[in-house]
Symmetry: C2
Subunit: 386 residues, 2 copies
């Protein structure tokens, strides 16, 4: 019987370009906001779990100690977890395991990334170096290329179109407009997406999440402590963690991401919820095609029918399963280490009824986050409830 764990505080910086802020400063802003929201002092934190995907982009190669310093935290355990673009979820998992095991009763999780301080070409290269250096990077592939292969395959197998992909981007921008923390508070149209610069065909610039600086933080607590600290704990009801064979050349089906399905299966099983119970979800739309495949892997749509969901508006507010009302990675932004934590912040706000007007699911009781690293090698699906 795993101990119950809840989110009792959240914090978030504006996502976007922070030319003058380092990971220390971004982490401090989000971290202190989460502590304040939880009503605890930094001296009450029993463990600090830090998520930073790339030391190279910020130049701070062992970032946990600097993040701790910026937060005035010392004495207690702290270290960093890393799982590429799912780094934030890995940091959350580490803290969750520390509480579930009884090692600590309360932990602060801070995810942070600085990605715009290096030139875009350099950042893109650092990202590509997260792929396998010996078997894939050497051939010149970068992440837009990986996801372009997946998009092409999904289009060929299931008739998904470039317009379908564009609809994901348009939807996510639509809701980012109402999210003050989003990088792009700007609506776009299908024709904006279709006419944007080709990046890796069929993916265009507006199919791709941006480079982003930002931080997000949550305070996790044991059941006993959570009930003392807040009247609105948001419980972790299930967390599935799964992986996928690393090399894309060895995958039989590029139009699916089996690790997402497996992680979801575990999370559903632990929580007792089914896809029909989920009232709001934050999915990993690093590229538009990812969100469509994820609908299918999470059981929101049948295999091959993901595009239909967005075509019908079922993942909009008021639809069957609203997805990425935060703006998603596409429009809220995607600071790698922060993203998984930001998803937890968003679901917490939604379940507490604190999401901003225009993007709030009224009365939501059950939410889901899905975060992945690389092309699904690292997969995390978490289910939360009031």
């Amino acid at each position: 019987m795993v101990q119950k764990v809840a989110i009792v505080g959240v914090g978030h910086t504006k996502f976007g370009h922070h030319d003058d802020l380092s990971i220390r400063e971004l982490a401090a802003e989000a971290g202190f906001a989460a502590l304040e929201d939880a009503g605890i002092a930094n001296t009450e934190v029993q463990m600090l779990s830090v998520g930073v995907a790339s030391g190279s982009m910020s130049g701070q190669l062992s970032p946990a100690a600097s993040v701790a310093d910026a937060l005035g935290i010392a004495g207690v355990p702290y270290y960093r977890s890393e799982a590429a673009c799912a780094t934030g979820s890995a940091a959350l998992r580490t803290a969750y395991a520390h509480i579930a095991s009884g090692f600590v009763d309360i932990a602060l999780v801070v995810g942070v990334e600085v990605m715009t301080h290096t030139p875009t070409k350099v950042s893109t290269d650092y990202l590509a170096q997260m792929g396998d250096m010996e078997w894939e990077y050497v051939h010149g592939i970068t992440f837009p290329g990986y996801f372009a292969l997946m998009a092409s395959s999904h289009m060929k197998l299931y008739g998904t179109s470039e317009e379908d992909l564009a609809l994901v981007s348009v939807k996510n921008h639509k809701y980012a407009f109402y999210n003050p923390y989003a990088q792009f508070q700007k609506r776009i149209s299908v024709s904006d997406v279709l006419s944007s610069k080709p990046v890796a065909p069929p993916l265009k610039l507006l199919d791709c999440s941006p480079l982003t600086d930002g931080a997000a933080a949550v305070v996790l607590a044991s059941e006993e402590l959570a009930r003392k600290l807040t009247d609105t704990p948001v419980w972790i009801r299930g967390m599935g963690v799964a992986s996928l064979n690393n090399l894309i050349a060895e995958r039989r089906d590029l139009a699916s991401i089996p690790s997402v399905r497996l992680a979801a299966k575990i999370a559903y099983s632990q929580s007792g919820f089914t896809p029909a119970d989920i009232q709001i979800a934050e999915l990993h739309d690093c590229f538009t095609i990812a969100e469509i495949i994820e609908y299918e892997e999470l059981g929101f749509a049948e295999r091959g029918k993901g595009a239909q969901l967005v075509r019908e508006g079922q993942t909009e507010l008021g639809g069957k399963i609203p997805v990425n009302l935060s703006g998603g990675l596409k429009a809220k932004g995607h600071p790698l280490g922060a993203t998984g934590v930001s998803m937890a912040v968003e679901i917490t706000k939604q379940l507490r009824g604190e999401a901003e007007r225009g993007r709030s699911v009224s009365g939501a009781q059950v939410g889901l986050t899905q975060n992945m690293g690389l092309t699904g090698q690292y997969s995390f699906v978490t289910i939360y409830s009031r």
Copy 2:
């Protein structure tokens, strides 16, 4: 009541220069050896915890997926933990928390680092970038410099001499001679150390651990599974994790490392053992002064009396508390991500009575490992017993 967890398998590569091997290959060698030692297949691993301190030195920026691939592990959770030079212990901690929480019953921990594929000056700079970039690196300090400050302070306060520091190096080289996995299987003398090239006075080249390539792995299992798998489980009896304020300029006393004392206090308390019960220890001798200070923080010597212990030969085989019979970081080598795991391998071999002739503590029942990152910001002390 935290669940009991044991080491049931160990693996280790030769430490040293592996010009032609990548982290994939080193990780596979150590990882498969640990699985074979545990008598399980890669398909039976329920979680893979990876320790790599620096993606920059190997060029593989998100290494866990590549390590998993090399080991033929997919489907199950894997990600990376990082705590600078204590990265291996952080990876062990993550796996330990996963088993103690009941998330999984058996986990493979692989620590690996490649440090000699980049020129020494570049590697030294990457290491320095693990220190705080904004407040310390900018002033030009590197790790030999940090530890030189600590050595100077200890010498001034307690009369520790350059010869005392040299004795630590001589002892550790003496035992590395018998360790086939050590980087330097070569005895040295006090005068060799004293006449070696100054690095950061009072520290000379032979006071410093080297740049090393290598990997180490352990299989951790829950109590129930451990008893099924082996007749010689080595139990984790306590693991203290602690930290220290980050900036050396803010420390009142450079001759102590309070996080080591705190982590030890926790580990002693959890295990019920006292310093007098420890029959063998592996300590973090990144620089010779560190081992002397650690004797004091761990309760093997009184404050200021660390040097006396090595002068009297009490940390040699046959002494009160044999330390670093593996050769330590100094002579066995210090591949950052592997070091903490390597310490666990060493204590397991010692407690199983499998350490090589000339460096084996006969009949040892209780052992301790102490691993730290940076100048003690990350501190881990673990106590094991038969």
